[in-house]
């Protein structure tokens, strides 16, 4: 499993060659509560880093999801249409959201340690 990096807006990204898998973090799914709907982009869509990739809707709230890296959408997790609860059950595995073919240089992202510190600070 490639190393995960994180954003301040609670997305994760894992790079495998030039394909980036993106999801929301365990902290994000816990805060959102039961996910009931995901609005995800069509394959082929080009996104700039930090752009809104889609939205995640829980019983409590709807939140935008931002792409941590720039690229073109190559695959969307179709299973989530009928089973959005996978985002809660396995946010770093079966609950992944989209795969992008990465374009351009990678922006600065948080590693496990720095993201963990961010959450501890938010919870303090």
């Amino acid at each position: 499993m490639p190393k995960r990096f994180y954003t301040e807006t609670h997305e994760w990204v894992a790079l495998d060659g030039e394909v980036a898998t993106i999801g929301i973090t365990d902290y994000a799914q816990a805060k959102l509560g039961d996910v009931v709907f995901l609005d995800l982009p069509q394959p082929g869509r080009e996104l700039a880093a930090g752009e809104v990739l889609g939205a995640v809707e829980s019983v409590k709230a709807a939140s935008d999801i931002y792409t941590p890296v720039a690229g073109t959408v190559v695959e969307v997790n179709q299973d989530l249409t009928s089973a959005p609860e996978k985002v809660n059950q396995d946010p770093y595995g079966d609950g992944w959201l989209v795969k992008l073919r990465v374009a351009g240089a990678l922006p600065e992202l948080l590693d496990e340690e720095r993201y963990g510190a961010l959450i501890r600070e938010a919870e303090a």
Partner: protein, 482 residues
């Protein structure tokens, strides 16, 4: 307690409703495949059965007419009965919108006077009364701002909204084709002016704000923010959701707002939602006036007329002249209250919110320092140890005869509980609500299970919100078709 649907109560041996003759020629020349081949399967019931059905449904309903309704951000104040008297005046109810102007001078005068009154309250030059609800007003205002910039050859594609904004703000901006840019709140709950500065650019068409904001806090740096926004050529938009705190005390127009929408069903005591319809008038400063929806109502030589000759108008946004019956109610309220009365209403709304805030601030956490304006946001995170969340607190309040406050909004406060008591409640009601909150908080520490089960004494118990959202059943089907 449940109530079967009329379709489920049907008794095939009864005759069912006797409908009047259609009154039109049955042969309309419609294509054969569009014609009904057999009669519709309407329920067959006796008239008393139908009457009892609706009476029982009404008794299960919960409304401001029965109990306290402190739904934050919604200004659920009492709707005076006098408004209903005014709206049912024969001259208003018998009007037809296709009548000629000369025969509806009274109605036009009401629209003209209501526009003047609302303009005076918020400090703008002109107003349209057409929009049918708040979000419709937001959209109408943004369309005017868009027309203003386009006429100047400016291509602006961004709208800034705070992270505490009502969801309708980004939705309206998106619907108008703008890209939404979020501005952060600072630790004091107000817009982070430094962050705003970094997001302003010639691409920005407008900043959308409520003031007081969603946390019930006054944006003290509003004049400075208005100057920053105007310096880039953008417009400042006022979401009127929270106007109830300010009537007669200060005016959005004087703070620098260029476009202002109002919710007559919040601030001006007309019914909400299902009891509506609503009305979301939009007021603008002089440079946006040419873009107002048409027709406008004008006074000329003591007569009132509809002005359609407005070439730069964004067009009509609602059939006829808006939800006229709602406008009558709002006008009746304004006349009954007068300027001093409206000012007192706002003062009392702020007083009630601060009184309740102090009462609730012990048992619950209130994260932002007061005093607040017309509403406040508490947090149920302190109950998390026993596994009790804002939802459970809300259900516990329902059990105790209160409508639940707004929960999980705004998003920037975890386990948010947003309370807006309004000026129309007595101190005894506020005390009873605070006592219920204390009782629930005590229960959260002592017997959280009881709260998880709540409500148990209402027509329906704890609903499975997750299942309802994931597998919505949107259409009733007969038992043999499920």
């Amino acid at each position: 307690m449940t109530e079967a649907l009329l379709f489920e109560k049907t008794q095939p041996d009864l005759a069912g409703p006797r409908l009047p003759a259609a009154g039109v020629d049955a042969d309309l020349g419609l294509p054969q495949h569009l014609l009904r081949r057999r009669p519709p399967e309407l329920p067959r019931l006796s008239e008393p059965t139908i009457m009892r059905h609706y009476s029982r449904l009404a008794s299960m309903n919960f409304s401001i007419s029965e109990e306290f309704y402190p739904l934050g951000s919604c200004t659920m104040k009492y709707n005076p009965v006098a408004n209903e008297w005014a709206a049912r005046l024969e001259g208003f109810v018998s009007l037809h919108p296709y009548q000629d102007e000369e025969s509806m001078q009274g109605a036009l005068e009401l629209l003209w006077r209501l526009e003047r009154a609302l303009c005076a309250i918020v400090g703008v030059d002109r107003m349209t009364l057409q929009p049918a609800a708040g979000a419709h007003g937001e959209w109408t205002a943004l369309r005017m701002i868009q027309a203003y910039h386009r006429e100047r050859g400016e291509d602006r594609d961004e709208v800034i909204v705070p992270d505490s904004a009502h969801g309708t703000n980004p939705a309206s901006a998106t619907l108008c084709g703008y890209r939404v840019v979020e501005v952060r709140s600072g630790t004091d709950g107000r817009v982070d002016v430094g962050d705003l500065e970094s997001k302003l650019s010639p691409r920005v068409a407008a900043l959308m704000l409520t003031n007081p904001n969603t946390l019930g806090l006054f944006e003290r740096q509003i004049v400075e923010m208005a100057e920053m926004v105007h310096a880039t050529g953008a417009k400042l938009y006022y979401d009127g959701a929270n106007l109830n705190a300010l009537m007669g005390i200060c005016r959005p127009g004087d703070m620098g707002f260029d476009a202002v929408h109002l919710n007559l069903h919040k601030t001006f005591t007309t019914p909400h939602g299902g009891g509506g319809p609503g009305a979301g008038p939009v007021g603008v400063k002089a440079d946006l006036v040419p873009y107002l929806p048409r027709p406008t109502v004008e006074r000329q030589d003591g007569r009132f007329r509809l002005d359609y000759d407005r070439p730069r108008s964004i067009g009509r946004v609602r059939s006829f002249y808006g939800n006229f019956g709602v406008l009558v109610r709002a006008f009746a309220y304004i006349l009954a209250m007068g300027g001093d009365g409206l000012t007192q209403a706002s003062r009392d709304a702020v007083l009630a919110a601060n009184y309740l805030r102090r009462q609730v601030a012990g048992p619950l956490e209130v994260p932002h320092p007061g005093p607040c304006m017309h509403e406040f946001v508490a947090s149920a995170t302190t109950l998390a140890q026993g596994g009790v969340r804002a939802t459970d607190l809300a259900k516990g309040l329902l059990e105790r005869g209160f409508y639940a406050p707004t929960v999980y909004f705004p998003l920037i406060v975890p386990e948010a509980v947003m309370v807006e008591p309004t000026e129309t409640e007595t101190r005894a009601t506020l005390d009873a609500f605070a006592a219920a909150v204390r009782e629930i908080v005590d229960l959260a520490h002592r017997d959280p299970e009881q709260l998880h089960r709540a409500p148990t004494r209402l027509p329906v118990g704890r609903l499975d919100e997750v299942a309802a959202a994931r597998h919505p059943v949107l259409r009733w089907r007969p038992p043999d078709d499920r």
